[in-house]
């Protein structure tokens, strides 16, 4: 049997190896309690994105209003010219 085949057979045999019997449940829970670990909360990020979205909508509404209310800055000049030409 060549070296590589021998290695493959050993690795396949090793696949059947059972792991050690352990119980870390108490240790894990103690560790989590000791550090008072909580799953990372994402509410500050959610709040920030909600506020950003609200601000963006407000700015958009104001911008649309300003745009519709705006008059052509050259209208004074063209009005006078139109009047003279008439």
């Amino acid at each position: 049997m060549n070296r590589w085949k021998h290695f493959e057979s050993l690795a396949a045999r090793a696949h059947d190896e059972a792991g050690p019997q352990i119980d870390v449940t108490a240790r894990v829970m103690d560790e989590l309690r000791r550090h008072a670990v909580k799953p990372v909360a994402d509410w500050p990020l959610r709040l920030f994105s909600a506020l950003s979205a609200a601000a963006a909508v407000t700015v958009l509404v104001l911008a649309i209003e300003s745009w519709t209310a705006a008059t052509d800055p050259l209208s004074g000049l063209f009005d006078t010219l139109t009047m003279v030409m008439q």
């Binding site: 050993l10 792991g19 050690p20 352990i22 909580k38």
Partner: protein
């Protein structure tokens, strides 16, 4: 009720802060996780530490679990990361010391079927331990865990192409080591 169904009940509860639900998840998954992480160390105490670290890390990342695959798959990915990190830390410490291949030499002549699984595993791990962590990881997943390329890629967070390339290089280096071992005997 199957383990997956129990997980579907306990994972959301653990996310909501139910410690009991998380301890049930730990109790349910630790035998499989211990067997998996036993590939990363042959020391029982270290194995326990790796299992513990995996569960703590999993708890901290619970919110990133989207439920697209079974929780055990997601947990195994974290375990792979924890084990790989352990190997990398070990590789730094052991860069001068080297690694004994006595276990390999003991079984090199024996027919694999005559060996028990633990003996075979001891020898294979002794030989793989001489490789860089990256090579060791890909060969362990493909040949000991018997993962497909796609499964190995999922566990490592690599692309399938990367797994194939890495496996090719790792095999080349291992073949060289095996040849050197044979020449020494």
């Amino acid at each position: 009720m199957t383990a997956d169904l129990l997980d579907q009940r306990d994972v959301p509860a653990a996310m909501a802060g139910d410690g009991e639900a998380y301890s049930r998840l730990v109790a349910r998954h630790q035998p499989a996780l211990a067997a998996y992480l036993w590939r990363f160390t042959r020391d029982r105490r270290e194995c326990e530490e790796l299992v513990e670290e995996t569960f703590v890390e999993a708890y901290l990342s619970l919110r990133s679990y989207r439920g697209r695959s079974p929780w055990s798959h997601w947990l195994r990915k974290i375990a792979t990361r924890v084990g790989y990190r352990f190997w990398k830390a070990r590789a730094k410490q052991r860069s001068v010391a080297g690694m004994s291949t006595a276990a390999w030499q003991r079984v090199a002549q024996a027919a694999p079927r005559e060996l028990d699984a633990a003996e075979a595993a001891e020898a294979v791990h002794a030989m793989l331990a001489r490789l860089a962590p990256r090579d060791r990881l890909v060969l362990s997943l493909l040949y000991i865990e018997q993962c497909s390329v796609a499964e190995a890629a999922g566990l490592c967070g690599w692309t399938q192409t990367m797994v194939k390339v890495q496996a090719h290089r790792a095999k080349k280096r291992l073949r060289k080591l095996l040849a050197e071992e044979e020449a020494e005997r």
